[in-house]
Subunit: 240 residues, 2 copies
């Protein structure tokens, strides 16, 4: 089993088949209350609904009151409440989806919280419609496809160095500096001391690849190729 | 005149009436080449199209070749090429729109680049469908409406302190820590030494406001109220 649980957060409901598949196959689903209505409307029943309970329809609030875990604390957002709840249940392999795509300050907040979840011992990945964010510490290696686009966003890391990437890394001081890198091999490694985020884009039309990466690039797979094309979410950190 | 020019970037085409109005009334429009097709399809002609020219349709590339300013340099993205081009023309009051809403690493990159543009003496604001990002240095005051949501994202600032906001500020070390604040008055002030981003949300349904802010909150205006409701983009930095 890949994930102990999936958190469906308050952003845009996912449309990409990979997050939808992860959600459909999840052994345990926590909906932030703003997301519960749409999840239920699509014929599902969450295992838990978390939040302050003011973003769910009255109908669903009544019908699923036994699933509603109200946390009205104001210092954290619903995504964090959901992750903390899962950690308190011993569920630490967590996928988050539906966390981006609306207000950009929420998007920035939700993405940056991944670093905090890692500090709290969660093994967490955020699946968006475009790729996956993975909070990392020190040296990490990921599977990829040549030409696949990768961004590295530095938080506290020093000595950043990449292997299997088109552009060199350095100790970035602004977020954009590590974006839009590309894999040249079937895996890439980030060497560093400290914390950073990796974003691996699901796929990229070949005509958008740089000349250097294009040389290495094979076919861009369709939906059916995503698992093969994006094996990074099955890496060693999940104990396989 | 509020802006010398508007950059239409490669993200989602704006849908919110405020960025659409800014785009419609712009004295000068630079399209990043990925955005030019949609801008043209809607019956407009940009003043300049900037990029490496591989994201625009062949039809438009031929028809508007006289507007195409190709910059194939790989170290910067199209948004930055557009801003640099405008600065080289003496146009420094710049609005950016269409810069978010697709790949989240592009969104992070485009938002964080605002700090670099400020360092290059641009007076720049990014209008999304949800609000406006303003790169700031040191002490800044903005008009707002009580209850309006504000996020502060720290880059290099120390001594962060807010006036007219529900939650206190501190020297945030992670992006999320300054998100989801709220105005309590008709203006708010950030005191700091150094650089930070302010995000002012266009509007917020009253039922989503905290109890404390709700006490201060008036009506939430519709589309026709945006200018009145969101006067922050007319602040002193534009020399009015």
């Amino acid at each position: 089993m890949l994930f102990d649980a999936v958190v469906l957060a308050n952003g845009e409901y996912p449309t990409n088949p990979l997050p939808l598949k992860i959600l459909a196959e999840a052994p345990y689903v926590v909906c932030c209350d703003g997301a519960a209505d749409e999840y239920i409307r699509r014929g599902n029943v969450p295992d838990v609904i978390i939040g302050d309970g003011d973003s769910i329809s009255e109908d669903n609030r009544n019908r699923y009151s036994h699933l509603l875990h109200r946390i009205s604390e104001q210092e954290t957002n619903d995504q964090t409440k959901a992750v903390r709840f899962l950690l308190s249940q011993g569920k630490r392999h967590i996928a988050i989806t539906g966390a981006t795509g609306k207000r950009e300050d929420h998007t920035l907040g939700n993405i940056s919280l991944l670093i905090d979840y890692m500090r709290a011992e969660a093994d967490v990945r955020m699946f968006t419609d475009y790729g996956v964010f993975i909070p990392c510490r020190d040296v990490r290696t990921f599977s990829c496809s040549p030409g696949q686009q990768v961004s590295i966003i530095n938080f506290t890391a020093r000595g950043l160095h990449g292997k299997g990437l088109v552009y060199p890394l350095s100790d970035f001081t602004n977020w954009w500096q590590g974006t839009l890198n590309e894999c040249t091999e079937a895996e890439f490694t980030i060497e560093a001391e400290g914390e950073y985020l990796v974003f691996i884009s699901f796929q990229q039309p070949p005509q958008r690849l740089s000349a250097k990466a294009r040389r290495f690039s094979g076919e861009t797979p369709g939906i059916e190729g995503i698992e093969l094309y994006y094996p990074g979410w099955r890496d060693a950190s999940f104990g396989e």
